[in-house]
């Protein structure tokens, strides 16, 4: 029979845990409100930058215009065929856990994007009409093209696309016997494409995840995931620009969690560089007149493009912060609810045991009294 004192102790410890999760929920809630406020204040600015970008880029299209950051898809394909250059990924995750599946979702998305080889049609991201989401489009355009010289890392992977879980298992290099062949093949490919990748990570979770797997992390930012600041976005932009201008990097992609509502946050990937003019074709019809650039188009673009990229990175950081906190809020309020339920069940059990003990004692007394008669 269960010990009464033992159950009492357990109830007490569950109640204590509940207090903690409840406090964490409240903290996350107040921080989330601040993060959402920051995000909402930032949205008009991002939208306007994007509008201007679209107008300028759609006008840029069709002109034989040379700028290192702006390319047509044909130029991009030609560059890829030469097979030179690394890919740079910026991954924004959280510093702390206890936020449900927030970190694992964004890291999974990061792996999916890094390993994207133009074969996966499952991603819902392909369906959205975001004309600035070039990464997969670029890759789909490259499908079937055999690079002349050294092959690019992503194209070396001939693996059929498997589910995310199988991929993740492959990455851990272990797992069930079914995944074993896969994991061996993965390891081999891993080593191949790690060389072609540089990473910038925001958040400890992302850093430790990729460090374990031997990726080349050129810079990490910790302690800013919940409260992003514009200056960090600028710093990252400067670094990205420098790397891209050096010619070693041919593609910069940002992976973050998009905040849609307090209950819906989805990981997303966007390409920062190069900027492909083909994708701005949609709006070109609206614009007939040319822009006047003061002083001239090159100096304006030299200043405007970094600004645009910094804005996108900052926006992504704000999205990620709001998503992280809302995930933590949900996780903690679920934990509190579960604790409540557990306390209820334990109380019931406790009472049952107590009642059983009383009944037993009465039986003994009655039995004893009967024996005396």
């Amino acid at each position: 029979m269960a010990n009464l004192q033992h159950i009492r102790r357990r109830i007490k410890s569950v109640k204590n845990i509940q207090k903690i999760t409840n406090a964490m929920d409240m903290i996350a809630r107040s921080r989330f409100n601040a993060a959402r406020e920051a995000l909402l204040s930032n949205l008009p600015y991002v939208a306007k930058t994007r509008e201007i970008m679209r107008r300028v880029m759609s006008q840029m299209r069709g002109q034989e215009y040379e700028h290192p950051f702006i390319k047509t898809r044909d130029e991009l394909i030609a560059e890829q065929q030469e097979g030179a250059g690394k890919f740079l990924f910026i991954v924004i995750a959280s510093d702390k856990g206890l936020a449900g599946s927030f970190s694992s979702n964004v890291l999974k998305e990061a792996h999916d994007t890094i390993e994207y080889d133009g074969t996966s049609e499952t991603s819902s991201l392909d369906a959205d009409d975001d004309d600035e989401n070039f990464h997969r489009k670029n890759f789909d355009a490259l499908k079937g093209i055999k690079p002349a010289g050294k092959r690019t890392p992503k194209q070396q992977r001939q693996m059929a696309a498997t589910g995310g879980m199988a991929r993740a298992a492959g990455h851990r290099g272990g797992g069930t016997s079914g995944a074993k062949n896969l994991s061996v093949a993965r390891e081999y490919n891993d080593a191949d494409y790690i060389e072609g990748i540089e990473l910038i990570t925001v958040g400890r979770k992302a850093t430790t995840h990729f460090k374990q797997r031997g990726y080349n992390i050129i810079k990490s930012y910790h302690g800013i995931s919940e409260r992003p600041q514009y200056k960090y976005a600028k710093e990252i932009t400067d670094l990205v620009m420098e790397r891209f201008a050096s010619g070693e990097i041919i593609d910069v992609t940002l992976i973050y969690t998009q905040f849609k509502s307090a209950i819906s946050c989805t990981p997303d990937d966007v390409t920062l560089l190069p900027i492909v003019t083909d994708d701005y074709a949609k709006t070109s019809a609206n614009l007939k007149e040319e822009y006047i650039y003061e002083p001239d188009v090159v100096s304006i673009l030299n200043d405007f493009l970094p600004q645009r990229i910094a804005t996108r990175i900052y926006g992504a950081m704000l999205h990620s912060a709001a998503s992280e906190l809302s995930s933590r809020m949900n996780a903690m309020s679920n934990a509190t609810d579960n604790a409540q339920e557990l306390v209820g069940r334990l109380n019931l059990f406790y009472n049952k045991v107590r009642q059983a003990g009383i009944t037993n004692e009465i039986n003994e007394i009655v039995g004893g009294a009967n024996a005396l008669e």
Partner: protein, 136 residues
Amino acid sequence: MATILLEVATPDKGEVYAKEINMLITRSICGELGILPKHANLLTELVPHAMRIKEGGGETKLFVSGGFMEVTPEKITILADAAEAPDDIDVERAKAAYKRAEERLAKKDSEIDIDRAEAALARAKARLLVKGVPIP
């Protein structure tokens, strides 16, 4: 009188100004610009300064700390790092910033970033100008 929509947005405060106006006088890196309704498409970079906005016979000032301005015939969009109406400006802070920037520039120390100090000076000056405070 014809009007044109002026929108000013910043990364931290969102849309700080959105109004139909008659004329905007602003300063780009190439010099002063007066924008009237039905202006041709234009994209330019702004320096830190006090913008003058003419609407309904009156004139208001707005501080912008640099950024970009896009003009279409119907709309002016300004993307500024910061933008403040006279009421939002902290005079004491601007004065202190002005002094600090001047001191830094006076030192002519190679250690300090001249560009940054000059930009800070320009920002402080523009803030004080918007507020109508005489520059010390």
